[in-house]
Subunit: 126 residues, 4 copies
């Protein structure tokens, strides 16, 4: 498992790590039963404080992906996929619309954005 974090990015390291973990979890490269590296080890590898990693683990655990208990290493657990609520979908659509507005506001062209979206859509197909 390899995680990339960019310490110079304006996106906080905690969020980057949590997000990278979610990607692995969602995509199946981290399966139930797998043990994550210890917070301290991963922190050293990434060049961040161990609390930064610990917080990321906690966030992901609070979403039901990890069993995180004192003294034991963090373990991926079987996770009952919740049924998506309609309200959630509407909210996500709204957030997507806002994200696109922001991109256009920052000067990214419509065609470039459309290309990005299609690119992600393709990735999901596989």
């Amino acid at each position: 498992m390899k995680l990339r974090v960019d310490l110079n990015s304006s996106i906080p390291a905690t969020r980057q790590i949590a997000e990278a973990l979610r990607v692995h979890l969602v995509e199946g490269s981290l399966r139930p039963g797998a043990k994550l590296p210890s917070v301290r080890r991963l922190a050293m590898e990434l060049g961040v404080h161990f609390n930064t990693v610990a917080e990321a683990y906690r966030q992901v655990a609070s979403e039901g992906w990890l069993d995180l208990r004192h003294g034991r290493s963090a373990t991926v657990i079987e996770r009952a996929a919740p049924a998506p609520r309609k309200a959630d979908l509407a909210e996500y659509r709204q957030r997507l619309r806002e994200l696109i507005s922001q991109m256009r506001a920052k000067g990214v062209s419509q065609s470039k954005i459309a290309e990005e979206l299609r690119c992600f859509a393709e990735e999901l197909k596989s």
Copy 2:
């Protein structure tokens, strides 16, 4: 032009207003030359402090959408699209990826997400 803000929401009012403006600007319901309501009037309508609206106007203006000068009403301007910085693009891609992971974590199926993305991409083409 109608803006919806929910004062009880945990999303801060400033951001809600700025987002709503951006959506209108980007989607064309606010065209160059259009005049926005005065800060105080809009504030009264929305039930927020006028500074809150002023801050939202300033944010949107700083992105090049508005001509904001003392004594005149805020006017939408034809804006030279700023060159998107590479770092920005990377950040937006990251945020998009994150949004998608969250949707999947919430139980939205891959195909459903892909469909949403393509749908937005189509809208942008036109």
Copy 3:
């Protein structure tokens, strides 16, 4: 409103502050609508870091006592008293039994403990 915290105590300041707030809230000296002092002001008064107070506020707010929103001062809110669940009562009884065992283990005499308990019971009557 006066809060006492003992920085030399082994009990963490955050917990002491949260607890002191709870006592005021439960006993009615902080009523719905009342505004708490700002985290920074209270922190200065108590001689702790403002984050310590902020965390205490957050804990109490998460129990439904406070309206805690960015930029506004913390306000006591009307709180629907939840119906006590039976399981809760059993748990509290267990915790009380454990607390008493610990006191006896530390050398506090039975009669002294009984006296304490009766003393608290009296306070509650009024």
Copy 4:
């Protein structure tokens, strides 16, 4: 003597074991002279690592309840009740107050709480 520990509980095993022992010791079901099961045996029964049991024994022993020596089984001893330190008493009073606030916050009525306290006080008298 039977101890219940719940390995799935968020309460750590060590604490659960130590608490359970204290309750037995204080309430008299473990009297001076009684021998506790060996660390390994109890650990096996409870399904925990023997170090976990050993740590619990050590904690209880450090409070003067047990004679814990290499090669002999842990034995309950007649203990000279240690003099309670004033600071301890204050801390316990604080914890009791905290427990009561929590009960009230959870919706348990004052009179119900007072009744519980008096009930425990009576038990101690005998």
